[in-house]
Subunit: 581 residues, 2 copies
């Protein structure tokens, strides 16, 4: 190594040691006859000291060093007169006797500091400079540790990591595939996997019984904020298990990560049915760091000539603690919030539970004080609380109220990113009905098993069929999801028929899996975690982009390397394709 030590490790025990350090010039300060340079690397910052009186030539050299120059220095460790006890190296500095400039640097286009002046686009274009910032570096270090600890846990339980192929076959179900033209097989295409789903099921058929993989997956979606065309999953599957085995095994993984990464001992994760999650939180991934549950007022409020409520399928409320003195302006803001097209509510009704015991509502003319009191009791509201009420179609109103609940959670600082509330959501419906296309879709995916006791409902009442499917939710974010799979060919066939696959389509797309089911497929199930998302949650961030070394922007573009980009005509020709713009 060119260096003897890194920039984060020298301390008072190294006094008088001769050392060689390498790193980047973070900043330099001239104080009278002294020049101080902060030398930075991945491990920390060490202060270099130059004395004009002792070595004017060297001090002159130091003064000419620009920001982000890469240098090598030789010197000796000395105790600082002015200690900085906040830094691990803050008690020492290096009396330098030789500088070697390893490479110069132009002035970077933004400051390489935790709080930078660089905008998102500029930082992405110069991502290699952005990655030098200590907060970004910590994110990638966290990610590395998450990977290491995940593998330690999985390996300790006899899971075997098996790489599944990246060049696979396009399937029409789900999101769009990225495809790859085959040169050797003209007119044919590989697809990039949206997940290794069918391969991991084949591994169960092959007897590998405990598989996992940390693996890139791909989805050609219209990118919303914080989606990436390539993302990473912790993909897992087990054989000879029931749902309970999967939940306990992967609750174990989550606890291991909480403990090793965050230093937190977490108790047994609560579980909630999908039905309860929708009823009490309006959301299949509830943030249970705080209560503020949805309360159904439908029965209480009807029959008072208030048409909005009388016509509503659902009238639902939440109670915001200590908010009874919200101003008209604050309430208007929240009304605008729920009326935004993304939420699409038609309005917001409030009820102030005043500190003096009186009630004040936006629908006073329809409801007496006595009646309003019933609302407050139903909501378990206390003096000083503010109740919000919405009405309309059940699912839409629940979802809108969920958004308001989350917004109120933010406003009331109930969503502390350093508090973690994991939750299993279970008993998802097997299907969802799509009004537009007038057909069923698989809520999880077409390989998910219905609950055995609900199989008779498949023909009579499919929407009521519950799946052996489950999600792990942390702080209102879905970290992972999975299911017990179908392992019998007949049931899988029936499922595909219900999802609108013809026999021919099914054979064409999933024939290899159906055939595999005829050669001794064991009962099996699994789960997949969004690795980027989990890292972000543990890092206390909403954005997965901060946890990906080289992310793409919202147009799926890597602005640093300028990709995607046109390719040569000869390349197209070789691939037997042409442009069709």
């Amino acid at each position: 190594m060119l260096r003897s030590h890194n920039c984060g490790e020298l301390n008072i025990s190294n006094i008088n040691d001769s050392v060689v350090l390498c790193g980047w010039v973070q900043r330099s300060r001239d104080l009278g006859g002294m020049t101080f340079v902060d030398l930075r690397d991945r491990y920390g910052i060490t202060q270099l000291a130059f004395n004009m009186d002792v070595n004017a030539n060297l001090c002159g050299q130091a003064r000419k060093l620009g920001r982000e120059f890469v240098i090598l220095v030789r010197g000796s460790v000395t105790e600082r007169s002015n200690k900085n006890l906040k830094m691990p190296t803050g008690e020492i500095e290096i009396i330098v006797n030789e500088i070697e400039i390893l490479n110069e640097s132009k002035t970077p286009p933004f400051t390489i500091e935790e709080n930078t002046d660089g905008g998102e686009e500029l930082r992405m274009k110069y991502r290699y400079l952005d990655l030098r910032r200590s907060n970004v570096r910590k994110n990638l270090e966290l990610r590395h540790k998450m990977g290491i600890e995940t593998r330690i846990y999985m390996n300790s339980l006899n899971f075997i990591e098996i790489e599944t192929p990246v060049l696979i076959k396009s399937t029409p179900e789900g999101a769009r595939d990225f495809v790859v033209p085959s040169r050797i097989n003209p007119g044919e295409f590989y697809a990039l996997p949206q997940s290794p789903q069918t391969f991991k099921q084949l591994l169960m058929v092959a007897g590998y019984d405990r598989y996992f993989q940390i693996v890139k997956c791909f989805r050609d979606e219209d990118l919303r904020a914080d989606r990436q065309p390539e993302f990473t999953q912790i993909d897992c599957e087990m054989a000879f298990v029931n749902q309970e085995d999967i939940l306990s095994t992967f609750e174990g993984l989550a606890k291991h990560l909480f403990k090793t990464i965050k230093g937190i001992e977490v108790k047994e994760f609560p579980r909630m049915s999908y039905a309860d999650a929708m009823k009490y939180y309006g959301n299949d991934k509830p943030d249970i760091r705080y209560e503020m549950k949805l309360v159904e007022l439908t029965e209480i409020v009807k029959g008072k000539d208030f048409k909005v409520f009388d016509d509503a399928e659902l009238v639902v409320a939440i109670s915001a603690s200590g908010c009874s003195e919200y101003t008209r302006k604050q309430i208007d803001e929240l009304t605008d919030f729920v009326k935004r097209p993304q939420i699409g509510s038609t309005g917001l009704i409030y009820l102030r539970v005043n500190n003096d015991g009186t009630y004040k509502s936006s629908v006073d003319k329809f409801y007496s004080e006595e009646e309003l009191k019933k609302w407050a009791i139903a909501c378990n509201a206390q003096k000083g609380d503010l109740i919000f009420v919405m009405a309309g179609k059940t699912e839409k109103t629940q979802k809108a109220m969920s958004e308001l609940r989350l917004e109120m959670g933010n406003r009331l600082n109930l969503r502390n990113p350093e508090v973690f509330a994991p939750l299993w959501v279970v008993d998802f419906p097997l299907f969802e009905w799509d009004e537009e296309t007038n057909r069923f879709y698989a809520k999880h995916h077409p390989f998910t098993s219905p609950k055995i006791e609900d199989i008779p409902l498949l023909d009579s009442n499919p929407v009521e069929v519950r799946a052996n499917a489950y999600d792990l939710v942390i702080n209102g974010v879905e970290i992972g999801g999975g299911s017990i799979r179908i392992h019998k060919k007949e049931l899988q066939n029936k499922m595909l028929r219900m999802l609108g696959f013809s026999e021919e389509d099914a054979q064409n797309q999933f024939g290899f899996l159906m055939n595999a089911f005829e050669f001794g497929a064991p009962p099996h199930g699994g789960i997949a975690f969004g690795f980027d998302r989990w890292c972000a949650i543990f890092g206390g961030s909403d954005s997965i982009r901060d946890y990906i070394a080289f992310p793409k922007n919202n147009s799926g573009r890597d602005v640093m390397i300028d990709s995607p980009s046109p390719i040569a005509y000869e390349q197209l020709k070789e691939l037997s394709i042409k442009l069709d713009k």
Copy 2:
């Protein structure tokens, strides 16, 4: 878990335990009143016993179980009368009192045994059954352990695993890229990485100083035997290092894997220059498990009117120990071997060093006994040895002789797959000249640094310039290779110019890297290992395909899932491409 134990763990200490086992029926045998079923899972085989006298009904059920049925049995552990001490479970059997058939199986198309009757193509089509064979399973278990131990070693040295993107940008240098049309950016394409080369260099610029990744890479090559379009690398890079640091760090990795995976303590790896490897082995990846070095006879043999030798640039020999009594037929076979088009030699001359001290050569009429003796002395041949001689252009003749050397190594059983001879080959030339296209190519890649002392030769004598490049070779197989990289923009520019990139091309393809070099790029270098290949070597196999769960065939086709395949017209339309067949 449905089971209480797996099929590999019960032994004499479990006698009388009540157990539940799950697995596949490997085979069943009826012996008079008893039926024995071998139950198999990933962990082993356990014998199940059924007694017609005790429970005729159950025994009848057992007799109907077909091969590869998946069953669950409840029973108790008992000591076998007929012990099989070769199996971990061979001292016990299970007295079954209940069988549950979890799934039936059709008769598999080949036997699920180490030695199977299934041909390659059939096994690939039913890969999920092939993967049940214990030898294939052991290969994937080896691979898993290699991954785990690699990560343990790298993590212990503060390397950080960072995922680089899979959807990147096409570059014309090197092998062909697989490309991915972008739907959102019509007419533009991503490319799949042939390696994360530029990204890992950017990570060095970003200050991450010790990076690694076990990562899929892609090459759209015309597939030769044992190449795969997607393959896995252990990709590594370090900053603030010289070549010696890289060699010792990764010799450490290799030793760690030798020790933890193979249980072998390996001494310091020998090193050999590229020049010596070519001179003494005719090969830049010599198999040094055995000597049989190439000996140059050019000077000794000239001037005796034997035109083949007189005209040759190189006359070179090897001596095969104890082969002097090879028959004419054996020698003819070897002559045919070197004349095959893949090798392309024009002929093979032999010299028998007979046990009686006489010499017998195919060119007796040109060379006296005395002269032949000189050859034998040069070759350090002993009585009983057989010397082979070839002549022609230097490089071609060296390579042909290398092939013969390897063939003789095989014939003489000198290439034991359980003996390991690692070797660093160093001092590669920076360029190679291509006669066909009349230009230089980078021997390693365009980012490789010349040796500092050879930089003056860049203009005057480029072919003599040596690179700071190195390969790790084990048993004649290149396991990995790398180099110290260029980290200065000017030198990188000069290199690209010499490789025929115009300024515009260079900017277009590598502009982001060149720009990055202007912002404080540290000295850096790295290495990448072929993970599939390394697993195969450790497993004692020549074929990487045996170490990949779902490999593709020689046409790049996955015959199990039938990929690549045509895609829908609508998909093409969305991607703004059409077929051009």
